[in-house]
Amino acid sequence: MSEPLMPSCQNVSDALSDYLEGYLSDRSRISLEQHLEMCPLCLVYMDHFRQIYHVTGKPEPEQLPEDFTDVMGKVIRAWRDEQDSGNQPDAD
């Protein structure tokens, strides 16, 4: 299927994740960048979207529950007891 020479604003908006992930073909990427050069509204939208892309993709600091080690120990013991007694309920 042939791609349009110049994408619409809506096409640009729809392609921004793929653009930022590097999934666009060279031809599509160049068309999108040409559109951005000529469309101030899309350029601001792109700037917003890029910030959202980076912030939502940022890993947050991990935190374990305070009693994690105790809980994990209980879980492992419960599992061993189930195995020893031959009584293993369905996992789900």
Binding site: S8, C9, L16, H48, I52, T56, K58, K74, D90, A91
Partner: protein, 194 residues
């Protein structure tokens, strides 16, 4: 068929054989990110702890079924996700799955921005992170879980799709819609603050 994750398969076999230390190492290495996901999806630390506990037991109970096709980490996330969904159902919260494109109304028939559409640059001093986190909490469940999983360090998109039991292209679409929704929500709140 050879396993895509032979080291994980060996670890799973060790655990299945009753190696408690191997199980403890796995949970210690991944407990933080598993808990973080449950916490984000349930917005309740106590419920998240319960769900994590159930998920760990679920992992151990079904460890002998692990086949190495996805990483053991992603496999554990998939079990946790089922527990999270069960918990949300118990709480009676809506499982809102959105596949709509709320951006459509922004454009005219030719795909250009509507004449009255205005998009202003954001104030660089604004607390973007706080606003974005708030906006992520407002997302439909499917977009929220996709974005949270995608943000987990080192988890490839293909594995996120496996955890969410959706196709890779559906995941990309879901992530994109989620980002668009967060952008729109953030834009509204930026406007209120300025």
């Amino acid at each position: 068929m050879s396993a895509a994750h032979p080291d994980d398969l060996a670890l799973a076999q060790q655990i299945a054989a009753g190696d408690e230390a191997a199980a403890a190492t796995f949970f210690t290495n991944h407990g933080g990110e598993l808990f973080g996901f449950a916490r984000k999806m349930l917005s309740d630390a106590s419920a998240a702890e319960d769900v994590l506990q159930e998920a760990m037991l679920g992992v151990l109970r079904s460890i002998s079924k692990y086949d190495g096709r996805v990483s053991l980490r992603a496999w554990a996330f998939a079990i946790l996700r089922h527990k999270v969904v069960d918990q949300i159902r118990k709480q009676g919260r809506d499982m809102l799955v959105s596949t709509t494109d709320p951006e459509l109304e922004n454009y005219d028939n030719s795909g250009s921005w509507n004449a009255n559409q205005s998009i202003e640059p954001w104030d660089e001093q604004a607390e973007l992170l706080d606003i974005v986190r708030y906006c992520m909490e407002q997302l439909p469940h499917n977009q929220r879980e996709a974005l949270h999983l995608r943000a987990i360090e080192g988890m490839p998109a293909q594995e996120v799709a496996e955890v969410l039991e959706m196709s890779y292209s559906n995941l990309r679409q879901t992530l994109h819609r989620g980002r668009q929704s967060v952008r729109r929500c953030t834009d509204q709140h930026m406007g209120e603050d300025s």
